[in-house]
């Protein structure tokens, strides 16, 4: 195990690794990301391992289980290099054929190739797929190339060269300057300029010299998993970023705060930390630079609010994870009262790129005030569910339709919520909005950590607002009154509206509460929590009015306001609905139109889903 004592030793090791990896090497990557795990990719990997072991040429083939490739909708995914053949929805049964035909035969298997809406021919490689074509995978692209448990894989793609550059060719102030020039803003949600934060920390008075850098991996937004996928798929990029940051601000200890719901991220991170220590990239005298730095892991209990920076600091200190009022900012008084830089996983992963390629290079990407790329987790009613990395400034339309492949089932786009549960819901009229920090705030939403939930025409926006308000009410820490009580009262009003008890004056109360919570809450959780309500009031006011004044739910979601009936003209009396109805509310003679007993019906909608003749009408 080489304990690297100098940057030269690092380069020698890298060359050594590369000589063992000729470009013509056959490599099969199986995606081991979160989405593919759900599709049992480990069975595919096991089958491949077994198949290669049995095959005479199998020893010459390198097999990798990598991190997330992004196109989770089509998992399990497999990529065969050097050709880069991309297979999707691979089942263990496909593996013998893949090995025989593609790996050794060089022929591809049509049925495993990607085809999608608007494509003339099946895509052979990732680059041929529209989902990938419009992305710019600066941070996330390496996930598919490396085995996250192998530091040599990371080194093979240039890993830790940025660290060597920072330690030996740059002064700490130069590193900070580079980050400032790059225009990098925090990817955790608030979008604070990272370089400025580092500068604040580096210049803060630390009585005993102690400073900390912290990686916030407490990704709590439902449906968002980019930080998880980065830690699972490329932990060394985060570690390298943290070491560079620690060098820049003069920190001796770092913490990664990971939620305990991310066992694979924790496992891969632990492995990576041990490797980095063994290779002399963490610990004392890193690469012979006399710079000492260690990283510890702190496992979070899973409270959403612990993603807030001050709450996270308390949680690491072993105190209840409640946010505190700033100032003092953590950069001046953070962990254990010491100057602390706290950045999100994705921010840290950007640091080696910026240090390596330079701030000016990075600053060319993106918009005027939002530089670089951003990873979004594209979920909800969308064809290509997955993680996408796009340059800042790309429009919502490009993300949803070009990359995401549009809405399934022809149900039509209704809204997209950006930024997690406390983001705003943006309507179709804003689809051409360029996505960056400031434009999203102007539109009443937030960048957040990059969640993007797409909603189709069958979504009730009042119900959506109620759903997210409920989530946030439960996750509020309860320290400040506006958030603790305001959200709860908002939830009461929204519940009343969705259950048919809405009053015309409720709109005004919601508006007033929302504005008050936004302006007066203690932390970002409270300050953004009214976004779902305020944005739906702004863009989908007609739906509120329909609930309150019209007593109906236009999307047919709110059970108290809808009724299910059978269109006698369409019903052919197949009886399927009657057999399956959990309430036994549907009756009718065979081959005769059926009827629903409104007294029994609970409006669960099962009959509508089952009916092959579109005879169930929800009104």
């Amino acid at each position: 195990m080489p304990n690297l004592k100098s940057p030269v030793a690092l380069e020698q090791l890298r060359n050594h690794i590369m000589t063992r990896r000729p470009p013509e090497q056959i490599t099969v990557s199986v995606c081991g990301g979160t989405g593919c795990h759900a599709y049992k990719c480990e069975d595919v990997a096991a089958a491949l391992r077994q198949e290669l072991a049995c095959h005479p040429g199998g020893r010459d083939v390198v097999m990798k289980v990598t991190g997330c490739h992004g196109l989770c909708e089509r998992g399990p995914l497999m990529v065969i290099h050097p050709q880069g053949i991309f297979y999707q929805r691979v089942k263990p049964g496909d593996v013998p054929e893949i090995v025989a035909e593609t790996v050794f035969g060089g022929r591809f298997i049509d049925r495993l190739l990607y085809t999608g809406p608007g494509m003339d021919a099946a895509a052979l490689r990732e680059d041929d797929i529209p989902f990938y074509r419009k992305q710019q995978r600066l941070i996330f692209g390496n996930n598919g190339l490396i085995d996250p448990t192998s530091i040599e894989d990371y080194m093979a793609i240039g890993g830790y060269s940025s660290l060597a550059k920072a330690l030996f060719a740059m002064k700490p102030a130069d590193v900070i300057e580079e980050i400032k020039v790059s225009g990098l803003r925090g990817r955790g949600g608030a979008g604070f300029p990272t370089g400025l934060k580092w500068e604040m920390c580096a210049s803060a008075v630390a009585h005993d010299g102690a400073r900390y850098v912290i990686c916030n991996a407490d990704e709590g937004d439902p449906g968002a998993y980019m930080d998880r996928s980065l830690l699972e798929g490329n932990p060394h990029s985060v570690i390298e970023g943290m070491i560079i940051g620690a060098y820049a601000v003069g920190a001796g200890t770092g913490y990664v705060y990971v939620r305990h719901e991310y066992p694979l991220a924790l496992k891969n991170l632990r492995t990576a930390l041990i490797q980095a220590e063994r290779y002399g990239l963490l610990g004392d005298n890193i690469l012979g630079s006399r710079f000492n730095f260690r990283i510890r892991i702190s496992v979070g209990g899973g409270a959403f609010v612990c993603g807030e920076e001050t709450a996270l600091l308390f949680s690491i200190e072993g105190k209840p994870g409640n946010p505190r009022q700033r100032p003092p900012f953590p950069a001046r008084q953070g962990l254990f009262g010491k100057p602390t830089v706290l950045n999100n996983v994705e921010t840290w992963a950007n640091v080696p790129v910026i240090t390596g390629l330079g701030g000016p290079w990075y600053a060319r990407l993106g918009t005027r005030n939002s530089k670089g790329t951003k990873i979004f987790s594209l979920v909800g009613k969308i064809n290509n569910t997955g993680l996408v990395e796009v340059p800042m400034g790309i429009t919502l339309r490009e993300i949803v339709f070009d990359i995401g492949g549009g809405i399934p089932g022809g149900k039509g786009f209704k809204a997209v919520q950006t930024g997690g549960p406390s983001g705003g819901c943006l309507p179709e009229s804003l689809l051409d909005l360029p996505v960056d920090f400031d434009r999203l705030i102007e539109a009443g939403s937030i960048m957040g950590s990059g969640g993007m939930i797409v909603m189709d025409g069958e979504t009730c926006m009042v119900d959506v607002a109620r759903y997210f308000t409920h989530f946030l009410t439960e996750e509020s820490c309860g320290k400040c009154v506006p958030c603790r009580e305001g959200l709860d009262r908002m939830l009461d009003i929204l519940t009343d509206i969705t259950e048919g008890r809405g009053r015309p004056e409720d709109i005004e109360l919601l508006q007033e509460l929302g504005e008050a919570i936004k302006s007066a809450s203690l932390c970002a959780l409270g300050r953004t929590a009214p976004n779902p309500v305020l944005s739906t009031l702004r863009y989908f006011r007609d739906e509120y009015d329909a609930h309150i004044r019209g007593g109906r739910c236009p999307a047919g979601v709110c059970k108290a306001l809808i009724s299910c009936s059978i269109d006698t003209a369409r019903c052919n009396g197949c009886g399927l609905c009657a057999r399956e109805c959990p309430q036994v509310a549907i009756t009718g003679e065979k081959k005769q139109a059926h009827v629903i007993d409104q007294g029994q019906c609970t409006r669960c909608g099962l009959c509508k889903d089952l009916c092959k003749f579109d005879a169930v009408v929800i009104s």
């Binding site: 409270a303 609010v305 209840p320 505190r324 009022q325 100032p327 009410t473 439960e474 996750e475 509020s476 820490c477 309860g478 320290k479 400040c480 009154v481 506006p482 603790r484 009580e485 305001g486 959200l487 709860d488 009262r489 009461d492 009003i493 004056e505 109360l509 007033e512 509460l513 008050a516 302006s519 007066a520 809450s521 203690l522 300050r527």
Partner: protein
């Protein structure tokens, strides 16, 4: 401190660097309402009532946490802010069950006052009406969660003033509750019944059970006096209504070292007491006590004193003036040098232990103010939580804030288990061996201070660490590790108490020697715990000489002290017994003559506290039944004996 200038509501305001915006506002007479802020406790910015607009801030900021800066432009009363405050109040009123007319503090409630101020005549949101419990299992405190606004003042008071960490928050969001320990009832928790939580509560959520519904601030008179509970010497703010005690609060809870008060000062003084003695009593022919006039009783007492030499025992709970007069009375009227105090045996143990200390006995001891500065505290033979609770609070506070190391030497229990750095558990009665072991250890660590007396030098030389360890049952390693911490401390303090009386008082001598070794010219780092409000005052007057020969009879000036077993034993088998006391007790049962005595609240005078701090007790109640003060009674008896005490 640098002066800073702000513009608040268009007017110039001055403040100091480091002030919060709220502090500057208040010191400039600008009223900014606040609920979760409590003077002297840390600020958390939770209620959001005090939010103000500060130029260049994107959104309103809480004045209580926002640091004031030079040139800052602040607005505190814009319509938007006032609307916001009204909205927050509305939310608070709908949160739980705030129905003022049933509330104990109605009329003296901060939440209610704000509601009036913002003319909150109705709320537009639905009342939640949660069914929350009322925790009434505690001896002295009641928590009605229905009235709690979760401001966290009690939580901070418990942590910062009481240094107790009993009260905290449980759960989160709108389900947050104030709770004791791990969601225990307060009565079953580690609550020390000291009460800063009550005083900090802005609503009626935490109540003093003994004061409940007895009177509001409006219909009570508030008077300041000294606490007679123990020797710490706290000042009390007493609420009086119709010559009755209603409530006791601190005068400055967060500002004064002794301001936290304790169960004695805040509650026990309000507890129902034994029947009062309001008239003089004489034992009649049938052997029963019978009411008589003061003149008769005084004459009878004088008659007794004439029959033979009396010993005089004096309660050190009584003020200095009475103590002085008593001494004079015994010497000049009763003609006896046999005097003692109710706690005289403890005095004599301390005095004999400290005979090597230089100068006035107690002047060598530390002031209470030194405890919060200490970085090492050795607690031996003392249970301050029992005898002097505020000292215990100070120790906990010091451990919390200074990271001071607390070493508990006690044969039975670790008295402060969450605060002690180590608990040394010696065999009963071997505290002296432990201290000697520590002496040896300290000297072997750092070398003895130069200029030690030869006697002390020789004493140290003669100590055998192994023997000390064997005698006490504490390992040499433990002794040495504590000695190392002691030797490294810059401001070590030893606190000892009358627990040593049961074992060996020799330990006191060793304690003084140990402190002498490490003394740094600022006197000895020792403090002996004294039991009564004026123990030190009475001792310094020379009243604790001790009854060295068997007297013919006894004069016990007991006041409102409860006679202990040791004292009662002394009263037996005497020719006569004259007792002057406030309450009926076994002592008055034995007496031939009983004279009435006012209780603490009915008398005035000076106390000398544990550390020499003097304080003035004031009369806050009229004496029951119009009884005479102790001094008048003594003077009257002297007159009967044809002596003058002037």
């Amino acid at each position: 401190m640098k002066e800073i200038n702000l513009t608040i509501n268009g007017k110039q305001a001055k403040g100091k660097e480091g002030d919060t915006v709220l502090e500057v506002c208040r010191s400039n007479g600008i009223d900014v309402p606040a609920l979760c802020h409590f003077q002297g406790l840390s600020n958390v910015g939770a209620c959001r009532i005090c939010v103000v607009e500060v130029e260049r801030e994107r959104r309103p900021v809480p004045a209580c946490t926002h640091p004031a800066g030079d040139g800052m432009v602040v607005k505190t009363d814009t319509p938007a802010l006032e609307n916001h405050r009204r909205l927050i109040l509305e939310l608070m009123f709908t949160e739980r069950n705030h129905f003022c007319m049933f509330c104990e503090v109605s009329g003296d409630c901060e939440l209610q006052k704000l509601a009036y101020r913002y003319q909150m005549d109705h709320v537009r949101y639905t009342h939640k009406f949660p069914k929350l419990p009322v925790d009434a299992l505690s001896e002295y405190l009641i928590i009605d969660h229905n009235r709690c606004i979760l401001c966290g003042r009690c939580v901070r008071a418990c942590q910062e003033v009481a240094a107790s960490r009993t009260i905290g928050f449980s759960s989160r969001g709108h389900k947050t509750m104030v709770s004791a320990d791990l969601e225990e009832s307060l009565g079953e928790s580690t609550c020390r019944l000291c009460g800063p939580c009550i005083e900090s509560c802005p609503t009626g959520a935490i109540m003093n059970r003994l004061s409940l519904y007895k009177g509001t601030r409006e219909n009570c008179t508030e008077l300041q006096t000294a606490c007679p509970g123990c020797a710490v010497g706290c000042e009390l703010n007493v609420w009086i209504r119709d010559n009755n005690l209603v409530k006791i609060e601190s005068t400055d809870m967060t500002g004064d070292l002794r301001g936290s008060l304790c169960r004695m000062g805040r509650f026990e003084l309000l507890e129902p007491a034994p029947p009062r003695i309001t008239t003089p009593l004489l034992r009649n022919k049938d052997g029963k006590l019978e009411a008589c006039s003061l003149e008769e009783a005084a004459a009878a007492a004088a008659g007794k004193f004439s029959t033979g030499k009396a010993a005089g025992i004096f309660s050190s709970r009584l003020p200095g003036e009475t103590a002085g007069l008593f001494k004079k009375f015994m010497e000049q009227a009763a003609g006896s040098e046999l005097v003692d105090t109710t706690d005289g045996n403890w005095y004599r143990a301390i005095a004999s232990g400290m005979k090597n200390a230089n100068g006035n006995l107690f002047n060598a001891e530390i002031k209470l103010e030194s405890i919060p500065e200490a970085d090492f505290i050795l607690l031996v033979g003392a249970d301050p939580q029992k005898t002097n609770p505020v000292v215990s609070t100070l120790i906990r506070r010091t451990v919390n804030s200074n990271k001071a190391k607390l070493v508990v030497i006690d044969a039975d229990t670790d008295l402060l288990p969450l605060w002690s750095y180590i608990w040394l558990k010696p065999k009963p009665g071997t505290e002296d061996a432990v201290i000697q072991g520590l002496m040896k250890g300290v000297v072997s660590q750092s070398g003895a201070r130069r200029g030690l007396s030869e006697t002390l030098d020789n004493k140290i030389k003669s100590i055998d660490l192994a023997k000390a360890a064997q005698q006490s049952g504490i390992s040499q390693d433990d002794l040495l590790s504590v000695a190392t911490a002691y030797a490294q401390a810059k401001k070590p303090v030893i606190i000892y108490g009358d627990g040593l009386l049961a074992g060996n008082t020799d330990a006191i001598n060793d304690i003084v020697d140990l402190a002498t070794i490490t003394a740094n010219g600022n006197g000895l780092g020792v403090l002996s715990l004294k039991p009564n409000a004026n123990s030190r005052g009475a001792w310094e007057l020379g009243l604790a000489k001790g009854v060295t020969e068997k007297p013919a009879g006894m004069f016990l000036l007991l006041g409102d002290e409860e006679p202990g077993e040791r004292l009662l034993k002394q009263l037996k088998g005497l020719g006569y017994l004259v007792v002057q006391a406030s309450y009926e007790s076994p002592a008055t049962e034995m007496a031939d003559v009983v004279l009435p005595s006012p209780i603490w609240a009915e008398r005035a005078g000076k106390y000398v506290a544990i550390d020499g701090h003097t304080l003035e007790a004031k009369r806050v109640l009229d004496p029951a039944g119009g009884m005479a003060q102790d001094a008048e009674v003594l003077t009257l008896i002297a007159k009967k004996l044809e002596r003058s005490l002037v």
